[in-house]
Symmetry: C2
Subunit: 373 residues, 2 copies
Amino acid sequence: MSLETEDQNRLELLLERLQEQTEMFLGYPVAKDFDCRALAPFLELPVNNLGDPFAPSTYQVDTREFEREVVTFAAQLLRAESDSWWGYVTNGGSEGNLYGLYLARELFPQGMVYFSQATHYSVSKNLHLLGLRHIMIRAQPNGEIDYEDLRETLRIHRDLPAIIFANIGTTMTEGKDDIGKIGQIFQELAISQSYIHSDAALCGFIAPFLTPRPAFDFADGADSISISGHKFIGSPIPCGIVLARKRNVDRIARSIAYIGNLDTTITGSRNGLTPLILWLAIKRLGEAGFRSRVVGSLEVAEYARGRLRNIGIDAWSNPNAITVVFPSPSPRICQKWQLAAADGITHLLILPNVSKAQIDRFVADLLTDMRPS
Amino acid sequence: MSLETEDQNRLELLLERLQEQTEMFLGYPVAKDFDCRALAPFLELPVNNLGDPFAPSTYQVDTREFEREVVTFAAQLLRAESDSWWGYVTNGGSEGNLYGLYLARELFPQGMVYFSQATHYSVSKNLHLLGLRHIMIRAQPNGEIDYEDLRETLRIHRDLPAIIFANIGTTMTEGKDDIGKIGQIFQELAISQSYIHSDAALCGFIAPFLTPRPAFDFADGADSISISGHKFIGSPIPCGIVLARKRNVDRIARSIAYIGNLDTTITGSRNGLTPLILWLAIKRLGEAGFRSRVVGSLEVAEYARGRLRNIGIDAWSNPNAITVVFPSPSPRICQKWQLAAADGITHLLILPNVSKAQIDRFVADLLTDMRPS
C-alpha cells in the first residue's frame, strides 16, 4: 500500500497550502493554537465511540471514558445539577442544535419554535429536517433577540408550547440572547409548557468567565446547550459538546439489543479522536487557563477596535465580545484574510491565537487598500 | 500548555488498551489495516470542509479538492451517470442514510418508507427524526427482504409514493436486497412515484467487484447510496460517502450568503481529515487493490466457515459475503472477541485484515470453551 510519488507530492503541497491559509485567516471563529501531536498514534486504530458514552458497549476500541470527563467538565462549567444531565461529544455545534431541537420536539410535538433573524442558517435547515413549526423574531441591531417582538409573538400563540432557540453569540456580531429575560416573559404570559435551547457554539467556553455572567446556562433555565469544540478551544476536526436534562433524554432512549447499548446519540458510530482532542485541551488549560484565554482575547479585541477606529473605520463589538464588526472592505481583503461578509458588514474573530502584531498587519493591508491608486 | 505526568500516563495506557482491543476483535465490520501516519501533520491545522464540496467557500483551510476526488471515485464505481450526481464525505453510514431519506421526503412528503426487519436500528431513529411514515417488511432467514411481503404491502398502498430503504448487506447476516427485483415490483404494480435508497454501508466497496454483481447501484435504479468509510476501507474516524442524483439534491439546496456557499450537506462544518483518509486508501489501492481485498476476504471467510463446521458449529454465509454467521457462543467468548450477538446468533466479520491464523486462534478458544470443565 505505497503512495505514488505524484500523490505524495500533492499531499505535501496540500499541507503547505493549509499552513499558509491558516496563517492568514482572521474571519472565522476558529482557534489555531491547539496541539494534538500527542494523538498521532491514535490515527492507526479503528477508534469508535459507538452509541451512548454513559452506557456499556461491546465495542471496546473507544475513548468513551475520556469523553465522559469532557462532558462532565462542560456540565459543571454550565452549572448542570449533578446526576440530572446527559451529554456527548458531537461532530459540531450544528449536531448539538439538532439534538436540542429534537428533544424539544419529542417533549412538545406541537410546539412553536422562536428564534431571532440573526440565527445561523443551519438552524432553519434543522427545523425543516425536524418538521417543527417556527417563527422568526426580529433581532436588535446588535444581534440580540428583540424581546418586545418575542413577547408580542408569544402572546398571540399562548395556546402552543414555546420552544426558544437562543443564540449565545450570533455568528455575525456575537449577540447574546438573555434567557433570564425570556424566562420572565414566560412568567408574565403564564406560559407553562416551554423549552429553551442555548446555542453557545462560540461562547460556551467564554461566557462562564465573563462578568457580568450572561444568562445562558442550566442554572439560568436552559434545557439543552450546544457548544463547538473547534471554535474557542480549537481542533483539527469540527466537534462539539451537547448537554441536556437527563429526564428529557430518557424519553427518547431506545433499548437496542444489537450493540448492547441505549441509542441516545444522533449518529451511532462516533468519532473517538475528538473527545481526546477536547480532553487534552481541558487537562492542559483547566478553568484558570480558560479564564486567561478569555481575558487575553478580549484585550486583543479592544486593541483591534482601537486600531480600526484610528484609521477611520467604524468598528464595534457587543460588550465582552471577541467579535469586532465593521463595514465590509474590498473583496481582495475579504478573500485574503478569509472574512465572511453579509449585508455590507464583516468581522474579525479574535480567538486566543490572534496577536496584536497580526492586527497590525491586517490594518496595514487595509490602509494600502483604502489609498487611492 | 503542558500535560501533567499523570494525564500523560493515562493517555499512554489508553493507547495500549486500544491497541490490545484492536488486536482481538473479530465481530465488527471494521478493517484495521489502514495506514494514516502520513496525515499526522494535519492534526495541527483547523481543517474544515465547510458546506458543499463542489461549491466555492471563503474558508480555505479545507481538503475539498481531495474530497471531490473521493466521491468521484465512488460515483464511478457505483455507476452514476457523469454530471448527474452529487455527494460528500459524511461522518458515517448513518448520516448518509439520513441524507438519502431526507431527499426522498423532500420529493415525496407523503411517501411511505418500506424497509425489512433486518434493517439497522439507526434507520428507525432516522425515520422518526424525519417524521416519515413507514412499514417494516418481513425479512427472509438470510436477511434479504421478503419480496412477496413487499409486493403485497405495496399493493395495499398504491396510492402513496413508495420509498424503499434497501439493505446492501444487513448488519447481522450481510443479506442484500435486490433493487432490480424491487423495480420489477414497481412496474408490475404501475407505481410511478418511487425512490430507492441503498444502504451499502459495508458492501459499497465490495459489491462492485462481485460476480454476479448485486443489483444495488445507480445503474440498477438507486436514487441515493450511502457507504461507510471506516468499514471495508478502514479509518481511525467513522466516516462515509453519500451519493445522490443531482436533480434531487438541487431541490433542497438553499443559497446561503453567509458562507458564500450552497448549504446542501447535513452538518455544515465538516471533517477535512476523513476525506484525506479515504483518498489515501483509494490512491494506494486503486480498483485492482479493492478487487484483491474482496477476493482475499471471501477466501478467509470460506476458511472460517470450514473451520467452524469442522468443530460442529453450524456456520453459514450469504453468497459472496464476508460475514460468517453462527449460534452465539458463551458471553466470555463474545466479550473477549467483541462479538455482537442478537436473537441467539452472532457473526465474524472477515475484513481484509483478518488472517487464517487469527481464525485458528479463535477456533481454538471456542474449543476450550466448549470442553466440559
